[in-house]
């Protein structure tokens, strides 16, 4: 037990350092770096044992950061590295192969944001008014690319309580020289008649093609549908997760609240969830590094990734 605890604290420290050194990195990428390091330091004797310990490590990380992306990223990492022939007799050689695959995976996903930005920026026309929700680094990257292409656009950002992450987004956009307005979460319906399109990020993309994102996204999607404005989602492919929620209540508790809340609070029903689920019928298109997908195509991609 003590050994495990020690490993756990070591892991958590490594994870936190990763997050701190590069605040622009997605939490899932930091998690995968941690897992790779864990793989390197692991002293297991069998491949099955290795896999078990990686699963355990992913669990630990979700207890630090309960976002959907960490758990999906971890699972995809595990799948990717074991999706090769591990028939070598020597365990050290197998491990080396897995480590190499892990590096490859990490490389691929660090390029995914650029790919997404390249696909999405063409949908932003000159003079467009964009509405976005809370602070999303992928959306920021897309808007950076569009600005670099000399497009003129204005952005409305929701304040996004309870952590007012929207203000952070506004700051970053101001630094780019993009005219930005911060609006209240309650003013989404009011502002929608002025905007041309809505772009949001996602914490997780589920099997049905819907997304899990910061609370307030579902509202925005319903209002955009009512106003007939396109609702675009930008997400990297490691956020695809094997979940199939039917409605808001069907999302598992471990994703709904922040990790500290889950660990410390006993009465979860008194806590307010920080994410919500947007069904696929309200989403126009998803921009991922696998291409531009319609919500029904997400399931096909998931089948390819996971089966």
């Amino acid at each position: 037990m003590l050994v495990e605890d020690k490993k756990q604290t070591e892991q958590k420290k490594y994870f936190r350092t990763q997050m701190r050194t590069d605040p622009d990195m997605a939490s899932a990428v930091a998690a995968i770096r941690t897992l790779l390091e864990f793989l390197r330091r692991d002293k297991g004797e069998t491949i099955l044992g290795l896999r078990e310990s990686l699963k355990w490590a992913t669990d630990c990380l979700t207890r630090v950061d309960s976002s959907v992306a960490v758990s999906s990223g971890g699972e995809l990492f595990l799948r990717f590295i074991s999706l090769t022939s591990l028939e070598h007799q020597d365990l050290a050689r197998c491990k080396k192969v897995m480590e190499e695959r892990g590096e490859l995976f990490l490389e691929k996903i660090s390029l995914s944001r650029t790919k997404v930005a390249k696909l999405c920026h063409t949908f932003i026309k000159d003079g467009a008014k964009i509405l976005t929700h809370s602070y999303s680094r992928v959306v920021l990257r897309v808007l950076e690319k569009a600005a670099a292409e000399k497009k003129r656009f204005t952005v409305y950002v929701t304040e996004s309580q309870p952590d007012t992450a929207g203000r952070q987004m506004a700051e970053a956009l101001r630094r780019l020289g993009v005219p930005v307005t911060v609006v209240l979460d309650a003013a989404v319906g009011y502002v929608l008649e002025k905007v041309d399109l809505v772009i949001v990020g996602a914490e997780g993309v589920v099997e049905s093609g819907g997304i899990i994102n910061k609370i307030g996204t579902y509202q925005m999607a319903v209002c955009s549908k009512a106003h007939n404005k396109p609702f675009y989602v930008v997400a990297e492919s490691f956020k695809f997760v094997r979940l199939y929620p039917l409605n808001q209540q069907d999302v598992p508790d471990r994703f709904k609240y922040k990790a500290d809340t889950l660990n410390n609070v006993s009465e979860l029903s008194k806590e307010h969830p920080v994410i919500d689920y947007t069904p696929p019928s309200l989403i126009t298109l998803l921009f991922t590094d696998l291409g531009v997908l319609t919500p029904s195509a997400v399931s096909d991609e998931l089948i390819k990734l996971y089966l």
Partner: protein, 542 residues
């Protein structure tokens, strides 16, 4: 003369467009006249331009299948349109028509009777001449005349043939079917009662006249277990997609056990031929379901893959094993896998709505109850089958608290429902769900109330067919079942006497994928639109 045909082309086109827009219906005489005139035009065109314009003659050749009323045509509308050209002829008279038939001068309307008589001999001579020319040119290897044949034969495979059971109003098809059954020594079942016109292309049989009454005892052609199975199907003793397929497979096991290879025959070929009349017989008793179709395909494949060096006993044991394995994998284990996924979706305090009696849904609910989930069930039922009563009986027996309503009370109970679980008869390749009639109504109203609809279906019920409405292919049950006797009085007792009254007892309907939130299969939970992906993956596996 020949040129005037070409020159008046654009003029003719306008009339064609007009005729198409007017959408005049073609009567039988007009169709015959059409055919004759088409032949005329073809001859003239061949005469004047033997090797050229291969498309035109190819087009005209493919116009012939038009006479069959319901052939799916992949031809463009412009190709169909020349057929309607002669329609303005009767009202408008000569000019437009004569342009198409150069053998007549521009004087008044030629009598249709003259034309065929005059050119029948000509036609024959021309045809013979053309055949000789084709044969000669084929030997030379020139492509131009074979080109005239090529587009026709290219287009032929594209025109799919409809299954016979949806062409009952076409006498040619019915005759063909009768001949086939005569060959196989199976009695033909006759249709019963007045058929509603929208469904006149389907069979409608009476329960009181089962096919087995027309068989001689002992029947030498049909194996007795198949006769029993046919009776059970037609009388409704064995119902439900899974039950029918499993019963079919058990009957086939019996057939295989009693089978002995005749001398000078190979088991792999002869057994398949033996099964064909059985399948026709069962089809006559009750149309085959999609799951039964897939099971039969599997058996036929297994039988034909038996290597010839197997001895009879070995081959038979292997086949029996295959059938057992199929039932085990596709039905029993699939049900277990589906229950595992479905139980994740049932939470405590749920109110679940089910429709009719689906063996799979009942299994899921029983398993969930065994795993101590707290939920209650609302069973929705409908006439005339009242299958919900069977489901209600099964659920109450193990202790689930249930409510029973008829489908007319659906919108009344839906506000308190949290999920709807539906079974399926088949899942079509475009994502539509084919199930018991009433299912699409439940899905529609549930969508209006924002209640999630979950369909549970094993993968062996997935079929390659595509259907967007419930009319094209369905099953008509005995219309007398709709009569109800209450307090000694039978309503609709003498419905046969009223010539304008039709009773419609549909069995299936299709639900569009927009109304279905989730499909639970043994491969996992997929959205309705991903059914073709699963079919693709399955085909790759096989």
């Amino acid at each position: 003369m020949a040129d005037c045909g070409e020159a008046n082309g654009p003029e003719r086109k306008n009339e064609i467009v007009r005729a198409k827009n007017e959408e005049k219906e073609l009567t039988k005489e007009e169709k015959q006249r059409l055919r004759k005139e088409k032949k005329q035009q073809k001859k003239q065109k061949e005469k004047k331009d033997d090797k050229g314009s291969s498309e035109k003659s190819g087009r005209e050749k493919t116009l012939d299948p038009l006479s069959a009323s319901q052939v799916l045509s992949t031809q463009s509308p412009t190709q169909k349109v020349p057929a309607s050209a002669p329609i303005p002829v009767p009202p408008s008279g000569a000019p437009s028509h004569s342009s198409g038939a150069p053998s007549h001068s521009s004087s008044g309307a030629p009598s249709p009777a003259d034309k065929p008589a005059k050119s029948k001999a000509e036609l024959k001579a021309e045809r013979r001449a053309r055949q000789e020319a084709d044969r000669a040119s084929k030997q030379q290897g020139s492509s131009s005349s074979s080109k005239t044949k090529a587009p026709a034969s290219d287009l032929n495979p594209v025109v799919k043939r409809l299954p016979e059971h949806v062409q009952v109003d076409d006498p040619a098809v019915v005759k063909r079917l009768a001949k086939k059954l005569e060959r196989q020594q199976i009695p033909l079942r006759s249709d019963y009662g007045y058929k509603v016109s929208l469904f006149s292309h389907l069979h409608q049989y009476s329960r009181k006249a089962p096919l087995t009454q027309l068989l001689s005892i002992p029947s030498s052609v049909i194996h007795p277990s198949i006769v029993r199975l046919g009776l059970q199907y037609s009388q409704g003793i064995v119902t439900g997609s899974n039950a029918r397929s499993v019963a079919l497979l058990h009957a086939f096991k019996q057939v295989i056990m009693d089978y002995s290879t005749p001398p000078n025959e190979e088991l792999s070929r002869d057994l398949v031929n033996k099964l064909k009349p059985y399948i026709s017989f069962l089809n006559q008793c009750r149309p085959l379901s999609a799951s039964m179709g897939n099971a039969i395909k599997y058996i036929k494949k297994e039988i034909s893959n038996i290597p010839s060096q197997y001895k009879e006993e070995e081959a038979k044991t292997k086949l029996l094993e295959c059938i057992d394995k199929y039932i085990d994998e596709k039905v029993v284990l699939a049900a277990k896998a589906i229950s595992k996924y479905a139980i994740e979706k049932i939470s405590d305090g749920d109110v679940i709505l089910v429709y009719g009696c689906s063996s799979l849904v009942n299994h899921i609910l029983c398993e969930a109850f065994d795993k101590n989930r707290k939920f209650r069930v609302i069973v929705v039922d409908s006439r005339p089958r009242l299958e919900g009563r069977e489901a209600l009986r099964r659920l109450v027996q193990i202790g689930i608290s249930c409510t029973y309503v008829l489908i007319s009370a659906l919108s009344y109970v839906l506000p308190e429902v949290s999920k709807v679980f539906l079974g399926a008869h088949a899942l079509l390749a475009n994502g539509y769900v084919m199930s018991r009639v009433g299912t699409s109504q439940i899905a529609l109203v549930a969508r209006a109330f924002n209640v999630p609809v979950l369909v549970c279906c094993e993968t062996y019920k997935f079929c390659e067919r595509v259907q967007t409405d419930s009319f094209v292919s369905n099953e008509l049950d005995d219309p007398d079942e709709l009569m109800v006797t209450r307090k000694g009085k039978t309503q609709l007792e003498d419905w046969h006497d009223l010539s304008t009254l039709g009773l419609l007892n549909l069995v299936y309907d299709v639900t569009p994928p927009d109304f279905v939130d989730l499909v639970i299969t043994d491969l996992g939970m997929i959205p309705c639109t991903s059914v073709p992906v699963v079919l693709r993956v399955k085909n790759v596996d096989q």
